[in-house]
Subunit: 360 residues, 3 copies
């Protein structure tokens, strides 16, 4: 039995398999109408995220399965102080697979270590959101016809955007990828992503502040929202925000065959007028997310049938003598959860919490 | 592809067709068990309305379809500032038809202009609630055996009761209808309904303040709730409220073959003791609502299959130079939504917002 | 047609039938895949209780039925002042059976007197929670192989724990049962349970304050949570709480064949380390709850089909001249609900409210 916590839990071969599976679902939806008959998905959303939740629910229903769950923590036993581990154990009695959204980093991982059914991370705090990345990958594959040899621009908030970090990680494993990182100085890609992914794997990238300058060379433009509250100085935000808004004028600078992605919801960072441009792929991206979730549910349920035992945790390089200071980490609140770190770089003395992956 | 925004979107022939369809469903529910197999209804309730939502959900399930959705805005992406248009586009990826309840006038209409699947207005602010009117019509048809040649009394809050206005509009298209409007002075039917519907179509009506005086002549009595907050003077409310409460004593004044309707929920405007009277039709009305929603879902899905293109907007008599001042109008909050008015009466210089239908 | 309000609504023969039915479901789940096809369960949760709700929903889905409902009152018409009676009448139009959770004692009973479909009490205030007791009974039966000749310890809050009172009532009807009541002085079993059940039926019991002293003789240990807010003196709580925490050390004192139950959620009254002990039955208990709910839904739907008429209320010994002073009683808020008491002990002049069962 396997769970999905991070996009890196999947090998490139598995990603390609999921993409192929999603394309087969798109081509022959009727082949899958009974694929999950008598199976139940539990959508455990400890914070609201309507689109993600409904995407999972639509996915399961289109596979012939059914759905139980909740859409915010106030309706859940967590409000009575139940631990994530207990919730996972109990929900395993009711459902065959779970999708968990949680404000705490690492909560779905803790669930996956206690559930007796597969757990899908549907977004945990500032940490991971792998099914968004699956949607992004299928979209690039369908829009551009390939996942290699692409120049991909990321625009907006590259500092806090977990979907950005995750897609950079995933795309870095394909050949011929070049990144253009477009953001204000305040919201540049964090050092750990640059060092651990881009530089480690020798991926070419440039950092720029002007969307207009970058646009002409891009095959893919991944837009994200810039939030006012990320700036210490509100004037700085007011001065900057418009230059990162994609409108029909800026679209004129782009290649004829380019693809605009956005994880949605969009507020005003893409003008509504751009929606009619054939290069605007963000609503098709939402549709692709449903198909990739279908492919993922199928894969995890098949794997659980083949091998009902939970995957063993990799026990190498673990340390039990450090304490996680990330206030958003599930280890800060979960009852009787041991503090565990993994040494990810012995030479540099880097140890990361196994739940939230923050450094000690 | 068609949507249902207002009861007037349906011709009398279509209304009769829906009523006939609902009666066939009642007679042979088993014929419809697979009618919507592999179809999904999205119930997007941006404000709670349990009975309406569950009626839609029961309707879809009895047609063999399935349901996704949310029951209040706090669980929705709207809380993150997503526009109605974007929500409609994304939900079109997940569902085959939508029912939308929204506190803003015109929100389901905006959704229907952006969705690629049919949208049913399940109640928008103070504006429309067409499926309630469908329930009312089937109830009158089943209880009285006809929709023509009836004296229909409306009692209570005729000023703000959108279900009252909507049923008056719908019934005005049948021959031989007479209305008795029973309300306190403060809550009389607004002028625009009297002028635009009753007087324009020469429908006979009387306005009275006494329920007891009106009762003997009625074939149908449509009760509504009088809310304390509608009165400037609380003493006025206290003085009046009991005279608009239907109890077993007042029922003695009514015809033996009369039908009492109420959109529900009832608070105390109909005494619980009246429930056992065979003329009390309001719980059967709730059941009829489910059957009409089934007939409507079937009709709209069939229409969408026949013609997947969105109906063109009628572009005659549109004006783009006016601004809507209705604070409840969706145009007050929806991002990048153009202000559009339609000239409904050139001679009288009357222009109405196409979203909320308020005058400029 | 029957409803389930209290565990005592079921005879011992019926309980045994439900347990046998649940065991058959466990052995042959595929026999039941279509048992409730075209049937709908409404889960009406006027206060959140995720585990109970999801257990009911999973149960109905595993029987091939479908589910509608709500998970908290804010999404319900109750927020608009609708009575329980009206809600029950309307929901009878949408569903074939209902499970109702409500903060008011007696609310599901009022619903069952107005619904035209069976109503299951899924927990009402401090009053009843019969399906939890069904889960407890199946667990004892499966873990111990019998429901008779057992020494059962109840530990923790025996004063307010409605699951404790209910299981004591249910088990008191089996032969050879002995109870050990383990609690601090402040949280002892209330007199009315001791007198009306234990002493009336001559059930042997002992009252002790030490869990450690009691453990060696127990066949079943039913743990409950001690809540800080039950104590006038916080120091008293601090002094006591640890002695009622079950940990691996205390488990060493227990029989090798003993079974630990807990209604869940658990906060810290059972150490997580105990979960791995084969005697820890509380997660299997959650699973058993689902199977008993399946058996119950099947039984009530079959009964409703056989006899669609609502069961007559037992009108003997009723009194209409008393007023219930329990602020949590549904009669305190429900509109036009008559005050009715039943004389349960003429000699002792004891009259109990038929809704909440509190004494006049």
């Amino acid at each position: 039995m396997r769970s999905l916590n991070s996009i890196l839990d999947l090998s490139v071969e598995e990603l390609d398999g999921l993409i192929a599976s999603a394309k087969d679902i798109i081509a022959h939806p009727e082949h899958y109408w009974d694929a999950c008959k008598h199976k139940k998905l539990a959508t455990l959303f400890f914070e609201p995220s309507t689109r993600t939740r409904l995407s999972f629910e639509a996915a399961m229903l289109e596979l012939g399965g059914s759905v139980i769950g909740f859409s915010e923590a106030s309706s859940s036993s967590a409000a009575k102080g139940e631990s994530m581990a207990d919730t996972a154990k109990i929900l395993s009695c009711y459902a065959d697979i779970m999708a968990i959204r949680h404000p705490k980093d690492g909560a779905p991982y803790v669930a996956s270590r206690n559930a007796t059914v597969p757990v899908i991370n549907a977004g945990d705090g500032m940490h991971n959101h792998p099914t968004q990345t699956l949607a992004d990958l299928l979209t690039i594959s369908r829009e551009m016809g390939r996942l290699n040899d692409l120049t991909i621009g990321f625009c907006g908030d590259l500092k806090y955007g977990r979907t950005v970090h995750s897609l950079i990680e995933a795309m870095s494993r394909y050949p011929g990828i070049k990144f253009v990182l477009i953001s204000p100085e305040e919201l540049k890609l964090p050092g750990f992503v640059r060092f651990n992914i881009l530089e480690k794997h020798h991926i070419p990238y440039t950092e720029v502040t002007s969307l207009e300058d970058a646009l002409p060379e891009l095959d893919v433009l991944y837009m994200t929202r810039i939030q006012r509250e990320r700036f210490d100085d509100p004037w700085q935000y007011e001065r900057l925000k418009d230059s990162y808004v994609l409108d029909t004028n800026k679209m004129k600078l782009a290649k004829e065959k380019m693809s605009v992605l956005h994880p949605l919801p969009r507020v005003n960072e893409i003008s509504v007028a751009v929606d009619d441009d054939p290069r605007a792929a963000y609503f098709r991206q939402a549709l692709n997310g449903k198909y990739m979730r279908m492919a993922l549910i199928l894969m995890l349920l098949k794997e659980a049938e083949r091998n009902p035992e939970r995957e063993e945790i990799d026990t190498s390089n673990l340390r039990y003598d450090l304490v996680c200071h990330n206030p958003r980490c599930i280890s800060a609140t979960e009852q009787e959860l041991p503090q565990i770190f993994r040494t990810t770089d012995k030479a540099a003395d880097i140890h990361r919490c196994i739940y939230c992956e923050q450094r000690a």
